[in-house]
Amino acid sequence: MEYLKSERKQILYSILLGLAGGLVGIALFGLSGYMISLSFFDPPFFVIILIIAVIKLFGMMKGAFRYIERLLSHEATFKLIGRLRLNYFKSTISSEQNTHSVKFIQKLNQYFEQVENYYIRIIYPYIVAVLISLLLMVLAVYAGLGFAAMTAIIALILLFAIPKLFEGRMSGTLESRDQTDDALYARLYHYIHDYTNLWVTGKKESEKEKIAPGIRRIRENENRMATNESLMQFMAQGVQLSAIIMIIVMLYEQTPLWVPMIMLIALSYFDLAMPVMNPASQYRTVKAAVSELELDIAHTSIPDMPSEVSAIEVDHLDFRYPNASLDVLKDVSLTVKEGEKHVIIGSSGSGKTTLIDRIIDGDKAVTLYDESGRTVPGASIAQASVMPQQLDFYNASVMDNITMFGHIERNRTAVESDLELLEMAHYTPDTMIEFTGRLSGGEQKRLQFIRMLAENKSWWIMDEPTARLDDRLKQKIWDHILSRPTLIVSTHDLSRLESFDHIHYMEQGRIIESGTYEQLMQRHGPVYQAVQRFRDFL
């Protein structure tokens, strides 16, 4: 709720309007009920006309109140969500969290939808329903204290007891739904990625059958949710029925004329209160989601532009992924000075990508030096252009993607000619990238390459820059890469090995051989063998 501070006025007004609208709605029904009772006892004609006029006026007012209330509450909520998003982004940007999984993004999306629900469907209507209940209780005193007590009990049951009764079940169901989703996600991921092998070994069908229980559990879970929701409604209708009977029994003797009026009031009160129950029963879960997003952003800050980097030193780097039992990098040391071109080769799984990632993302064992030999504080690599394995693009125009929304200065013509150069002329700077998942691996590499050209920084750090490209493009890209002053490149493609100043060969997380091309060719070690093997390609 803290985030609502600046929208306080809007919220106050929308609650007041919601209250007024609700009351007017109830009065509307009450009046029409009273009208019929009254009419049969020959009241002055103008009274009836007056009542009808008031009913209509009330109706219009109710509509208008509701209209303004919705505008105010939506605006407040959207502003709030906008700010929440901004804060969330600010605090995530400097965190270590891996945000690349579909599952994570899907969950985040869900959280934001829940926040919207939290305010628009839970908080406002609930507050309004509670206030109306209170007012009705006060009014009910006119019909006797016993009647007022009954009103209070009904309100308590509807707004508190029933939601509370279902809260535990609901959050249990939602939680198990979450777990089911996670498990199914893992299974599906495995099935998709291991498909060829499963097909060949004839295990496709049995593996596919293992997916079915997860899908079935989702259905069962949804069914449980629906049953709970319907049960809540059913119970509320039970309460409604007893209210109807009680109204008749309690009031027919003293105030028979009121019965139709109160009856219609009761029916419309239930119409207003019952929709609140279901969201209210999910309060606990949604509240958890909301607090997930309302992160503390007090001590997250954006680093200032660091000074020029003149050297990067990797000093006895060991690295192991969280939860893994083995080091992926073992005692890796490497120094790269401005103006040097380094290439890292080795088989898949040897640790090349991890090493590049450590240099880019920062590590205790990785130090950046500026021109005067001082350590550049922080782990920022913002002075280098990088091409990590995982590339990022956004649902925006090609131009925005290349220039990072205008951060990098680059004119359209330059971008156009870069696209042309890399045989991507089917894209223009204005082309919207609507779904980043549709970009092929090769397209991503090329767009990232254009981004790096636009950045025009002296350090280039790249992981597999020529993978998934055809030979002509490979050579074109190598020409551009090798014209850069300072390089750290990991690659499988040994076609331009001789153009690098330093070659490092990795195996099982270690650099097992380093040197210049000439040295290594003479030494006949692993690099020499790799080159022979590469030349042997047909």
């Binding site: 029409s32 009208m35 019929i36 009419s39 020959d42 004609f45 009836i48 209209y67 919705r70 505008l71 939506h74 605006e75 959207f78 906008g82 995530t92 940007i93 945000t99 579909v102 993004i105 999306n109 989703d181 998709i192 990625h193 498909y195 060829t196 092998n197 097909w199 060949v200 070994t201 596919k208 949804e222 069914n223 319907s230 409604q233 209708q237 009977i245 008749i248 027919y252 003797e253 028979p256 219609l264 954006i302 992924y321 039992s325 083995l326 992926v328 088989s347 913002a382 280098a384 990022d392 649902n395 990072m404 951060h407 990098i408 099982q508 063998q529 093997r533 042997d536 390609f537 047909l538």
Partner: protein
């Protein structure tokens, strides 16, 4: 909007809705009678009157409960079925778009669910309700029925005149909302690049600007959307008010109505108009959900291979007869005949993109040829791909796939020269592979992949030569092993390097949509 639902469900829904509305009308009937006694006759309520009121209201509540539960169950079952249909479209190419597939299942299907769960039952229920109430009103108070018939068309009329624009606008809003949401999620997902390029401030400013612009534009559009709801409400109020006015006038001036009919009318009128309103609002929601169905249907259009086009009665390892393969217009092989013997090493070479991988996929049963027959000697094929995928598993489980004893696995790994380095690991062959991190060298991974296939002793082995770096010793070892293996099995390998040709008994090249036997092979 089409309700794409089988007829039986539409009939079931209609019947249940009709019963529910009837129960409510009978409840109203008895309640009105009861109140008539109290207000007009000044009598105490009769007990059996109360019982009828309670009974029919209970029936009404029960039927609503049943309707909701059945509606949800039918919907969930249909969604489950739809999920299975999407999952059955997964094939060996899906991993290239795995994200979009996972999105279809975890996001789009979930967003479509309300269409089946809420929209369809609500539309049927309200339609039935409107019809029955109007019919009933003719018997209760004809003038009110006429007012209903007269005012009801204003709702669709309003939608035609004003609402259509609103509808378009609100759809635009929904898609814009999606877009902004997507950009935000994109930025979260791609925060690394923002950081690497040092673009934090620019991006934050842009996000902020987008947010503000978004609130402004959304509120502008929402105004239309809410206005249309407001208009619906006005029509509703106008209708209810007209009915109340008519009832009031009837009572006082014409004295042509009983209390029973008056109260009953005022009880049913709001039900009628609310149903109309709900119909109008749901129409909009339904449209939005359907957009998600389209995204799912994109997957369903993919063709699904359910029967194996290969037969396994050949006396040759592989026998192709008039086979053509290609991708759409792009023909890779045309009218090819080929027979490969039951033992021996067959090497296949050719430039990239010429169809070698598609050829292998065809032999595996993953790419149906346009013409011709594919016959193999055995269904148990071993396939050593040039890709690596390790799920969270152990080395033993990876190789044995739960089918071979530890001794057999160790024997084979020994033969492939892997046991030395494996026994150095913490848990030996039971060392876990987590997050795709394998404590092995490239050459060892290649051998591990081979072990997984070779332990099954398949009669036909298909192989995409691994492009991994192998040291000379490993390479010799693998070649020696393959040379031994080819005496018993047919090995068909896509070969990238000359060295492997040394152990080849036959060498074929892809050229000009044909598979040509090279000289030098026998």
């Amino acid at each position: 909007m089409k309700l794409n639902m089988p007829k039986k469900y539409i009939i079931l829904y209609s019947a249940l809705s009709a019963l529910g509305v009837l129960a409510f009308i009978l409840f109203g009937h008895h309640l009105s009678l009861l109140l008539n006694d109290i207000v007009i006759e000044g009598e105490a309520p009769r007990v059996n009157g109360l019982v009828w009121v309670a009974l029919f209201f209970f029936l009404y509540a029960l039927l609503s409960f049943v309707y909701r539960v059945i509606g949800a169950r039918v919907a969930n079952e249909r969604i489950e079925h739809l999920t299975h249909r999407v999952v059955s479209k997964i094939d060996d190419q899906t991993r290239k778009h795995s994200e979009s597939m996972l999105n279809a299942i975890f996001v789009h299907l979930e967003k479509y669910r309300p269409f089946e769960k809420v929209f369809i039952p609500t539309v049927i229920q309200t339609t039935v309700k409107i019809t029955i109430i109007i019919t009933a009103m003719f018997f209760i108070h004809r003038n009110a029925a006429l007012i209903m018939i007269f005012t009801a068309p204003f709702v669709p009329l309003y939608y035609i005149l004003v609402g259509l624009r609103t509808k378009d606008e609100s759809e635009a809003q929904a898609s814009q909302f999606d877009e902004l949401g997507m950009l935000f999620l994109n930025l979260i997902r791609g925060k690394n690049t923002v950081q690497y390029t040092g673009a934090e401030r620019t991006v934050i400013a842009r996000l902020k600007h987008y947010n503000e612009q978004y609130v402004r534009e959304t509120m502008h559009i929402l105004k239309y959307a809410f206005q249309s709801t407001l208009m619906l409400e006005f029509i509703t109020i106008l209708g209810i008010g007209l009915i109340a006015l008519e009832v009031g006038l009837q009572i006082i001036i014409f004295e042509g109505i009983t209390f029973y009919a008056a109260f009953f009318t005022l009880l049913l009128a709001p039900e009628f108009y609310n149903a109309l309103k709900v119909l109008g609002i749901e129409f909009h929601n339904g449209k939005l959900s359907q957009g998600n169905l389209e995204r799912i249907e994109e997957w369903l259009e993919n063709e699904e291979e359910d029967d194996d086009y290969r037969n396994f009665n050949s006396s040759k390892a592989v026998e192709l007869d008039g086979v053509s393969i290609g991708h759409g217009e792009n023909v890779l092989l045309e009218n090819v005949d080929l027979a490969l013997p039951e033992t021996g090493f067959t090497a296949i070479t050719g430039p990239s993109g010429i169809g070698k991988s598609t050829f292998i996929r065809m032999l595996l049963g993953l790419h149906r040829p346009g013409n011709g027959t594919v016959a193999l000697s055995d269904a148990g094929i071993g396939y050593i791909s040039d890709e690596v995928y390790f799920s969270d598993t152990t080395i033993y489980e990876y190789v044995s796939d739960g089918e071979y004893a530890e001794a057999a696995v160790i024997e084979l790994l020994e033969k492939l020269g892997l046991m030395d380095s494996l026994s150095n690991l913490d848990k030996g062959i039971h060392a876990p592979i987590v997050n795709h991190n394998i404590p092995l060298s490239g050459g060892e991974i290649v051998r591990l992949k081979m072990a997984r296939v070779l332990i099954r002793r398949p009669k036909i082995i298909l192989m995409d030569e691994p492009t991994e770096f192998l040291d000379a010793t490993t390479e010799e070892m693998i070649m020696a092993y393959l040379a031994e293996l080819k005496l018993e099995s047919a090995i068909i390998a896509v070969v990238h390097r000359r060295k492997l040709l040394k152990i080849a008994d036959h060498h074929y090249t892809f050229s000009d949509r044909q598979i040509v036997l090279q000289k030098g092979g026998s």
